[in-house]
Symmetry: C2
Subunit: 320 residues, 2 copies
Amino acid sequence: MVDIAVESAVPAHLRTVRGRPLRVPEDYVPQFPSFVARHPESVSQLVMAYLGGAATPDLDGADGPRHHDRAVGHGETVTTAYWDDPTAFERWAAAHRAAWLATPGHWLEVAAPGVERYETIFGRRSRPEGAAVLAEGFSGAIREHGYWGGMRDRMAAAQTDPLHRPGDLAAEQEGDVVRVRPQGSLCLIRSGQDWTDTTGDERRMYLEEIEPRLREGMEFLRTEGRAVGCLANRYLTVLDADGAPSERSYGWSWWRSLADLERWAESHPTHLEIFGAFGRMAAAQRGRIDLRLYHEVVVVEPHEAWFGYRDCAPGTGLLP
Amino acid sequence: MVDIAVESAVPAHLRTVRGRPLRVPEDYVPQFPSFVARHPESVSQLVMAYLGGAATPDLDGADGPRHHDRAVGHGETVTTAYWDDPTAFERWAAAHRAAWLATPGHWLEVAAPGVERYETIFGRRSRPEGAAVLAEGFSGAIREHGYWGGMRDRMAAAQTDPLHRPGDLAAEQEGDVVRVRPQGSLCLIRSGQDWTDTTGDERRMYLEEIEPRLREGMEFLRTEGRAVGCLANRYLTVLDADGAPSERSYGWSWWRSLADLERWAESHPTHLEIFGAFGRMAAAQRGRIDLRLYHEVVVVEPHEAWFGYRDCAPGTGLLP
């Protein structure tokens, strides 16, 4: 085993007496380092807004997001915008939401979790993606990874909360927009890969062995996911500043609960194939990996999520 | 999901208020049924004695084991004997242990856990193996399986105990026998397969795809296991009543802790290959599986384990 000094993924100001223990013993040391995003203590809530539609939403101005990116997949164009000031988001939404949803085919999905129900993981301490772009920086090597259950163990709320309050989805027409209102909490994951830096065997293994399995797993979740608790899944390619496809992609899915996401990741053949293909590549490369992986996971209560769809095809996002 | 009524793997008389929650939420339902052995409430301790040596130990008489089997592998012959009356075992050991260890090359390894640190799992409610032969019968379908962590969740002690008190091994000469004394608790698993009933594609897949990966995993644990907390591993073929190899085998290993066994099972490429090969076969067979799988796992405190080796090669069992 590699002996590395580790710190807790849970930031110091959110630590409490654990009513629910970590899944690993005190002396657990991960086999390789991973890192989490560290946000300022003053940040208590994050906002992640996903805007579906080929148009470019108005994201400039004082209340605009601190970071956004655009991505395409399955005929959809999605702009993802991040705020760490929920009141700024509220002002932005008041000014721009109705206009965005005035266009047929547009939709908006928002997750605005308290930071205690948010966690990230990155393989490198550079080139943050997603909400981590808003962070102050990265942690040192953290303890809570390299085992099934690390995702939950990294989330501050899980120190005391089972994070399991699933409920039905209620859809209702509100003017021209169909609103979907979750009756329980939901879990959201954005899980990304960046193969820009890969070369040689590693690049070939990513493109020929890992990516096809990743695509199969994403397709399973998109078409059959509801049976395992996945309410919606999109597999998207990030666009660069010129609007051209980059060598970065991400899977993005809504789940009935964190537990359902855990079960799929740990046991479903489609995910184990992805996991196994990555493990074989890491072994073949003797750990010298240029592929960059990261994810962000949140659990939102009903009042922290917002879903609206304007004349969208059935099955878009959380639409029935 | 298949909707099946489930019961707790933890027997009613050993249930208590969980200080350590199950790894799955209240509404978790496994995708397929599995069962555990149910012993009489009067049984508070089990004894599993492994006797290494080609001779047949004296197991008859009033204090003999209630069940035993014999197996071979890597040039070793091992008789495994089970008691559910520890005082009968003590009398048997007083009468026979010294004689067994009088023969060079013989060894004896004993685990005698309280039943609260013992768990089993079986895919079928028939043909018990190992300690389950001593049981009154099988449970109904249980809840705590089909996810990583089920092993721990099935063990009664884990309701309140992290089951993690690893320690060093101390070896010392005692007459002609080398005794190994664990300074902390140990974990033991016997994990078996019976392919007697398999036919056609399933048999071919077991023999050509699963078994070679199982053999590789067992060989990894035997030769490199210490780095992941596996102190000893044997992969054995069970002998039938006539002493001929049967179509049943088991892996049997001592671990530094239950947590180390969990980490290997959940994350090591050698075990994920085994797990993946089995999953592919189950999918190909659409769940109609004639391969029988079972395991028994115990955690023993230092005073519940006994190891003695008479002129055995270095590295035999827990020998340095």
